[in-house]
Symmetry: C2
Subunit: 318 residues, 2 copies
C-alpha cells in the first residue's frame, strides 16, 4: 500500500504517519506539506516533500504514480478561512480540485480520505443531526469543505478516485499552542490548566460541542484508508460517532485548582462562528460502517496524558 499524506507535517498527519509506521501498514509513505515535513522512522521508505496543494506540479511529486491511498488533510482552518477568503478558497476548494485532477491522472483510481468538518453543518446548539442532514454552513471553511465533498463524491461516482469524506468533530485535547481555528478554545480550556496555565473561556459553560480525541480521529482516518467503500454507494460523506459534551462536563475532568485557571471571557466573534455548529449527530451509518465511537471525557483526558502531555510540556519549555 503506497500512501500519501497531504498535510503530513500537521498535527493529525504526523500522528497518522506514526501509526502507519508502528503498524508497518504501508510499503511506501510520502509526507507532503507546505514546509517539508521532518523525517520519520518507519519500517518502509518515507519521502518528505514540500508541496502546495494548489500547485499541480508539486502534487505530482506528492502523489507519485502507483499511489494507492491519498489522505488529504491539507486545509486552511475555520477562523483563518473566515479572515482570508481567498486563501481559504485557494486551499480548501481549488486545492481539492487539484488533488482530484492529479488522482484521475493515476493508472489506478486511489482511495482518497478527505477531512471535512462539522463546520459544514448549521443548526446550532439545539440541533440533533440525522445522517442525511443537509450541509448549510455558516462559515467559509464549512462552505468550502461541503463544496469539496460534492466534487469528491462526483469524482468517485465517475471512477476517477474512491473518496471517503470524514466530517471530523472538534478534535480535543490538541497539543501545542492555540491556533487559528475558532474552536481552539475547546482544547485550550483543558490543555492550559493541565499545564498549570490560565486560559480564557469565550463561551458559556452550557455550550455543547461535538468532540473526539486525536487518537480516535487517527483511528477513523486509518479505517477509511482500507474500508470497503461499496456500502457507501453515492454518498461519500460520513459523520463519525463523536461525543456530545458541554463545557461544564469537559471542565469536570479537571481538579478544582486546575479549574480555577479557566477564566470567563465572553468573545462574540468566537461565539458567532462556533455557535452555529451543531453539537449532536445520530452517526448511525458510521457505526454500521465500522467507525468506532468516542468513549467519555475520562478517555479523552487519558489519551492526552498518555499521548501528548509530555511533548507539549517539552515544546513549550514547561
Amino acid at each position: 500500500m503506497r500512501v500519501t499524506i497531504l498535510g503530513g507535517g500537521g498535527f493529525l498527519g504526523r500522528k497518522l504517519a506514526r501509526r502507519l509506521a508502528a503498524e508497518g501498514a504501508a510499503t511506501h509513505l510520502t509526507l507532503a506539506d507546505m514546509a517539508e515535513p521532518p523525517p520519520l522512522d518507519a519500517p518502509f521508505p518515507v519521502t518528505c516533500v514540500a508541496a502546495d496543494v494548489t500547485d499541480a506540479a508539486a502534487l505530482e511529486r506528492a502523489i507519485p504514480d502507483g499511489t494507492d491511498v491519498v489522505v488529504h488533510l491539507a486545509a486552511v482552518v475555520s477562523a483563518a478561512a473566515e479572515a482570508d477568503y481567498d486563501l481559504g478558497l485557494a486551499v480548501n476548494l481549488r486545492g481539492t480540485l487539484a488533488v482530484i485532477e492529479r488522482c484521475r491522472g493515476l493508472a489506478r483510481p486511489p482511495r482518497v480520505v478527505f477531512t471535512s468538518s462539522v463546520a459544514s453543518f448549521g443548526g446550532g446548539q439545539d440541533a440533533m443531526l440525522p445522517d442525511d442532514a443537509r450541509q448549510l454552513p455558516a462559515n467559509s471553511y464549512g462552505a468550502q469543505k461541503a463544496a469539496a465533498e460534492l466534487l469528491l463524491q462526483d469524482a468517485s461516482r465517475r471512477g476517477m478516485l474512491d473518496a471517503v469524506s470524514i466530517r471530523l468533530p472538534t478534535v480535543i485535547i490538541r497539543p501545542g499552542r492555540p491556533n487559528k481555528a475558532a474552536s481552539s478554545f475547546v482544547s485550550a480550556i483543558l490543555r492550559e490548566p493541565l499545564l498549570g496555565l490560565e486560559t480564557p473561556l469565550p463561551v458559556a459553560e452550557e455550550f455543547r460541542v461535538w468532540v473526539c480525541s486525536p487518537r480516535l480521529a487517527v483511528e477513523w482516518l486509518r479505517h477509511a484508508m482500507t474500508m470497503d467503500t461499496a456500502p457507501l454507494g453515492l454518498d461519500r460523506g460520513v459523520n463519525p460517532p463523536g461525543l456530545c459534551v458541554s463545557v461544564r462536563e469537559m471542565l469536570g475532568v479537571l481538579s478544582p485548582a486546575q479549574r480555577a485557571l479557566v477564566r470567563p471571557a465572553p468573545d462574540a466573534g468566537v461565539q458567532a462562528i462556533v455557535g452555529g455548529w451543531p453539537a449532536a449527530f445520530a452517526a448511525t451509518r458510521a457505526r454500521a460502517l465500522g467507525f468506532a465511537p468516542q468513549p467519555g471525557m475520562d478517555a479523552i483526558l487519558a489519551t492526552f496524558l498518555e499521548d501528548d502531555l509530555a511533548a507539549t510540556r517539552a515544546e513549550r519549555g514547561l
Copy 2:
C-alpha cells in the same frame, strides 16, 4: 436598475430580456454569451457582448461597474457535463467562481440570480423532497450546481453579493430542436408531435417529472431579481413550485393522432440520469416567498402555443 444576463443568448436568457424590455424594467441591459447575442429592441440601452464566464477579463465587460443585478444562466447542461467533465467543471463551477470574483469587485454588491437545478438532488421517482432536503446529486451537472450554490451562499453571507439560487424544474415545452440535456425528451414528446413529427420516448409512461413552463421560469427569475432577500437568511436556495406530472399525463394533452407519433424507444443512458431526479417537492418556502405555482398541463400546452409554436415552425422550416 442595471442588469446583466449571462447566457443572454440562450433560450431563457432571451425570453427574460424580452420580458424586461416589455416591462421597461431596466435602465441598461447587458446580454452576454459565448457568441455575441443578437440585438434586442428595448426602451433602454442594450449592450450585447461575447463573453466566456471562465474569462475574468470578459466578465469585466459583461458585468460593468454599477451593475445591480446579474442573472447567471450560463451553464453546460446535464448530458453535456456528463460527457465532458472538464468542460462542465470549467463553466458550471469555475465560471461561477469567476462571477463571484467579478461581483465582489463592484462598488455595490449586486443581486445574483443563479439557475440551479432539480438535478442537484437525488432520491428518484419515489421521493417527496422537503424544502430542507439534502442535495445528493447523481450527475456531474448537479454536483457542480450544488457546489456553486454553496459558494454563492457563502459569498452572500459575506456581503460580496446577494444571491438567490433557483433550482429550476425541467422546463417544458422548449422550442427549437432537441439539445444535450438528458431531459430533452420531456419537451420533445410534446413539441415534435405538435409539429406533426415522430419522436422517441426513452422512458415508461409512468415516469414522473417536475416541470414548469418557460414563461413561469422567466417569471421566477424576474421575481428573484427584485424580491426582498432578508427572509432567505443564510439559505439562498429555493425550490420553486413546479408541477409533478407523469409522461402519461403529459401525453394526455395531445390529440390521438399526435399521440401516435410518440414511439416507445427505451434508452438506458437517459433513464440512468433522469431516473435519479426527484419528481416531487414540497416547495412550501418558495410559495411563501412569492414564487407563483405552476398550473396544470393545459396551461403548459397553451403557453407553448401562444409563445413558441410559430417561431419553432419558422426556425425549423415547417
